[in-house]
Symmetry: C2
Subunit: 511 residues, 2 copies
């Protein structure tokens, strides 16, 4: 049983929502499998129109959805309105990806008797995997939830979706699913293209269900690892795309600290406190030169920040416990009064923790654990060598940020060290705020994700739900349109080793 | 301890080769990690030249290598000479992939304050993962071994390789590694770009080694699953690209059987008996209309085939046991005398097994297990409906083959059913013989592989060993050449959502 909770008051919101039974999960997956051929067979242009219709449906219900979201998350109207707009725009981006057509990687090789070995006609493209399970996150009730990036990219790929609702916003999840389901039905979609399930047991059953072919997950390292293990211990293991949490290291060079420590302190505090620190891209571990006095400057700025109640009681408890573990480490100091551990319910206090590089290196395991909430750890290093040694202990992360100056001798080594362990390298900026573009990458080496090759945000997120299929000597009437002679869809294709851009046929014109 | 065995005589070949100790594996992985930045930093054109040099080295030592290979595998000179040529050509293909440059998926988005959400400068490309473990196969001592597709694609990606030698051709493996290592050294590569290890324990240590970032494996379902489990139970699970065995279903429609049953029987027998049935693409399960008398025709052709000694004693034993399991199934008949179970050592007898569709469906689990060696299972179906029901029980496979006639009403349903469960769909041909091209896909759904998104053959095999990295507002001097303003490499790039072909700069000209 799930029920919405208002983080501001602790009061319940909306009706009780029963857990989905294992039999109901099985039925949902079975319906998804039955709907799969319809969605897979939809021409790219029509699938694009379907996604655009979902985006319009979200926008049409903006006020209702944002009110529901605010009641269950306390994230506030401006943030939620922006997030809904971004979520709808994300559906539009995948519609654009489908119209462009390059995503299917159409590749044609003519027969070649002189090749080593010789070959006949070969044509390759990416095709949908099948039903996908999506686990919604707590901290983005739109962008990483029922209508979020995992759902959008799976549907774009041609894969039906079964979403496991996050218990932090169950009422919003139900209503979002209703709105999407109505829009799907209006577009002629059969039952089963999108289904919502509730409850932890339902989530495990979903990952184990034989009809499910891949999983998208955003959430905690513990929960993610448990479901990853379910996926990998199936008789037929399936891809598990888990985004599990990230420490997001920042390096401030001596030159940058000397030139603009005030600006850096302000920017860092703003980024770390955004959404009360409940961003997976929160800068959680910051390396600063010891001479610059940056830790105190950061603390002064963080002290000015407003901390709203955290999303769930479990997150608030996890934050207090994580903070306690760090503060037990020898050499670690809290720079703010905090009372973080004493506060009640969803409300916690912000904190800035500081430690020197030697003490950090002696206890890196504890100090590189993500502490989800309004805290950042500032590590003071004495020299570039010490910084390099400390960076070597930083685990895989979604982002790495470098603050450096022009012709800064410390910039290149720090950039190289960060690039080796992160999915996005930011220069003189901040990691929070994940743009939804063709070039975005929101992923990274373990432990940040369970699938280092893939992204959960940006155009290439679609790749997670597609598999290659090569057709050998298959006559035209049995080939998908993307691979037929004459390029009827007008999409980019690689022909006999040469990339070609295709025409405009697929973009609204005639073949 | 490993030692080569001549399959023809059972005699030992070459000296004893000691197992690599866990400490030696650790040292090899550590050297690979140290060599990684050098290989990753090599410009695409220079890395292409390195691969081409490896191909030349193989060709220069063709006679020596083929003689060694024949002594340890008995595959015969024509086949081995052809396989070496294909292996060298494979290195050339990856050199071409590097010169082309599209593999790195360079994608640039200009700052856009009007986007939802707004964004600054973002540039994405694929970068090398890090050291890769490669497990060589028994049945292709060149193409899927030390210098094979996994090694070629990993080096092309910029990843050092530690190869676990297959015990079926240990002497050849050592000599191949020496030749590659000399060529690498001549090209200025540091120690650690390629290392060979021996022994099962070394293999497990390799998959568990913290420096290893991905595994390429070709081999048995049992061995593959055990190593997959090691990879997935690491604290930081890594991608495991296992090609584990495949039943490779074939469907012959009623019309095709009526039009050319003699040709089909001959083609099937030739494909199934190629290399004494020791191909991962062997057509192992063939659905034929019951009226056409095809099982006996196939058996007559198979009876004419020459069966050479199998590669290893373990494979021969596995073949006999697998055949026994099938022959115990009610309704299954052996069409040849065989004496398969009575034969000694590496020598076995060919077999054709037949069963009707009802008996097949009652025992699909046993009859869809790959039996590696010279046998194929022919299933007689009475009508298209029965065929569809039987096909629904066929597990994931590398290939599916359809024999149909023009305007054949049974073609499309069978093609759709096959396409849903295979990585390559062949029309009126045979699955053995895997061309090495841009459009090739050698992979498929579980249980054929452990990574349905990826291929072990063809240009896109490189994708397995690359991860995305996005640069946000990073100045030109800290960017890789592939992402710099002005496209200095002249490679295909997607700029502000539009695919561009780039110039010829990267193909030997000047920027």
């Amino acid at each position: 049983m799930t029920r919405g909770i208002d983080p501001r008051t602790g009061a319940t919101v909306g009706p009780e929502i029963p857990d989905t039974t294992p039999a109901q999960v099985r039925a949902a997956c079975s319906r998804a499998a039955q709907a799969a051929p319809w969605l897979a067979g939809l021409p790219f242009a029509e699938r694009a129109e379907l996604l655009a219709a979902l985006g319009r449906a979200l926008r049409e219900h903006q006020d209702e959805l944002c009110a529901l979201a605010d009641a269950e998350t306390a994230l506030g109207s401006p943030r939620l309105t922006g997030e809904l707009a971004r979520t709808a725009a994300q559906l539009d981006l995948f519609a654009e990806v489908l119209r462009d057509g390059a995503f299917c990687e159409a590749t044609l090789d003519s027969p070649d008797p002189d090749a080593v070995p010789p070959h006949t006609d070969l044509r390759r493209m990416l095709v949908p995997l099948g039903p996908v399970a999506v686990f919604a996150a707590s901290n983005f009730p739109f962008a990483f939830s029922v209508a979020g990036g995992d759902t959008a990219s799976a549907l774009a790929a041609g894969c039906p979706v079964v979403v496991k609702a996050h218990p932090g916003h169950p009422g919003l999840s139900v209503r979002t699913a209703e709105i999407l389901t109505e829009a799907l039905a209006a577009a002629g979609a059969p039952d089963g293209v999108l289904t919502l399930v509730h409850g932890e047991q339902a989530g495990r059953a979903l990952v184990a269900d034989p009809a499910v072919t891949a999983v998208g997950f955003t959430g905690s390292p513990g929960g993610g690892r448990a479901l990853f293990d379910v996926a990998m211990s199936r008789p037929d293991p399936i891809p598990f795309y888990g985004e599990l949490g990230s420490i997001n290291p920042v390096v401030v060079t001596a030159a940058a600290a000397a030139a603009r420590s005030g600006e850096i302190a302000e920017g860092l505090a703003g980024s770390a406190m955004l959404g009360s620190g409940q961003f997976c891209t929160k800068p959680g571990l910051v390396f600063v030169p010891s001479a610059a006095g940056l830790p105190q400057r950061v603390a002064d700025k963080v002290a000015e920040a407003t901390v709203t109640p955290l999303l769930t009681a479990r997150i608030a408890t996890g934050y207090r416990e994580g903070l306690d573990r760090m503060l037990e480490v020898p050499g670690v100091r809290a720079l703010l009064d905090g009372q973080a551990s004493a506060a009640d319910g969803h409300q916690v206090a912000a904190q800035v923790v500081t430690v020197d590089a030697q003490a950090f290196m002696a206890n890196a395991a504890v100090l590189t654990e993500e502490c989800f909430g309004p805290v950042t750890v500032v590590v003071s290093y004495s020299a570039p060598d010490e910084l390099a040694a400390a960076l070597a202990l930083v685990p895989g992360a979604l982002t790495g940020t470098l603050h450096a100056e022009p012709e800064d001798p410390d910039a290149a080594p720090a950039a190289t060290a960060l690039a080796a362990r992160v999915g996005r390298l930011i220069h003189n900026g901040w990691p929070t705020g994940v743009a939804v573009t063709w070039s975005q990458h929101h992923g990274g080496p373990s432990p940040a994700t369970t699938a280092v090759l893939h992204t959960s945000v940006g155009a290439t997120a679609i790749r997670r739900f597609l598999r290659p299929l090569t057709y050998q000597d298959v006559p035209g009437h049995l080939l998908p349109a993307a691979l037929r002679d004459g390029n009827p869809l007008g999409i980019p294709r690689r022909v006999d080793g040469k990339l070609t851009l295709g025409g405009v046929a697929g973009r609204g014109g005639t073949p």
